[in-house]
Amino acid sequence: MKEQSELMLDGNAIGGLLSEIFTMEMTSAEGKCAGCGAVNAIGRVHVYMNGPGAVVRCPDCTSVLMRIVHGNGRYWIDLSGLRVLEFAES
């Protein structure tokens, strides 16, 4: 039986998905959690992506940073859990 912890990945796992949406490499982007203020590289955040969509959570407080759904030829993206996202020009 799969343990829950085995289902949790990190932001490296959504590198491809984020590259479809943003034009930059995003796993080294840094996001500030709107919940607790912690700043983490996307590569470090917790990702649950085996469900109806990708849910990205703060590794410090587990609140939701991003939700990404891709279906029917559309994306729905909620970034409201991120206060700010910082990344370099490519």
Binding site: S5, N12, E25, T27, G43, R44, S90
Partner: protein
């Protein structure tokens, strides 16, 4: 930098262990990559069904083509196809390279600690190969956990590179069974093992940990407990999904 799916042709298949094989590809227009990055592989069956998985690039940036190393999971959907069905000259779709967080470049002067669990060793091997081809002498220690001796991927190549005496040390631990005369560790990662292998904190090392999520969590926790700054530690969780 919008990544496109490209059709890549298999140029070579190398059996690494009874369940693990490396697939080398020619990818038209490949722009190069950094050690630690991965590719996404997409398979489409003739009825339109698609499956997609991520695989770390095993080859160094200096090498020609792109090589991935795949472990066949018995209940997997993609891995039994890649390890078992795919033949040389077959093609499949891949896109990449992906990732900028979990990467290492020769030229970074900090001592490196690499901790790999099972097929988590793959991106770490890309870093080790890159280091060798770039002629770097940055001190690197690999702590590599495998189930049995036969499961150790890249065994001979690691022995050879470690024997070169240029600052690479390789430590193995086997968690299920050991062969006669085995001199490495024979247990799961624990604090004494980490203490033996980890660089002193004063040297502000960088650490890359890769493998199944529980392994990565355990290793990262042990390092932080012994005083490593979490900012020095980069992780890549493979999880147990997909396959």
């Amino acid at each position: 930098m919008i990544l496109k799916w490209q059709v890549a042709k298999v140029t070579a298949i190398t059996a690494e262990t009874p369940r693990v094989a490396s697939l080398s590809f020619h990818v038209p227009g490949w722009q190069g990559h950094l050690a630690g990055q991965h590719v996404d592989v997409r398979l489409t069956s003739d009825d339109g069904y698609q499956a997609q998985r991520s695989y770390s690039i095993a080859s160094a940036p200096e090498e020609k083509g792109v090589t991935i190393t795949v472990e066949r999971l018995d209940d997997g959907e993609v891995s039994p196809y890649l390890v078992g069905e795919v033949r040389q000259s077959d093609s499949l779709e891949l896109r990449g390279p992906i990732g900028g967080y979990f990467v290492w470049k020769a030229g970074d002067p900090r001592p490196v600690l690499l901790i790999g669990g099972g097929s988590g060793v793959v991106p770490l091997m890309a870093m080790i190969r890159h280091r060798a081809l770039a002629g770097s002498r940055t001190p690197v220690r690999l702590l590599y956990s495998s189930r049995t001796f036969d499961d150790v991927i890249y065994r001979d190549e690691l022995d050879r590179l470690a024997a070169a005496g240029d600052g690479l040390a390789v430590h193995h631990t086997l968690t299920r069974s050991r062969p006669p005369g085995w001199k490495g560790y024979t247990r799961r990662l624990d604090r004494p093992m980490i203490d033996d292998v980890a660089w002193p904190s004063e040297q502000t090392p960088i650490v890359f940990i890769c493998g199944p999520t529980p392994f990565v969590e355990a290793a990262a926790t042990l390092l932080v407990e012994r005083g490593y700054d979490p900012a020095w530690v980069k992780t890549e969780r493979f999880g147990a999904t997909g396959g």
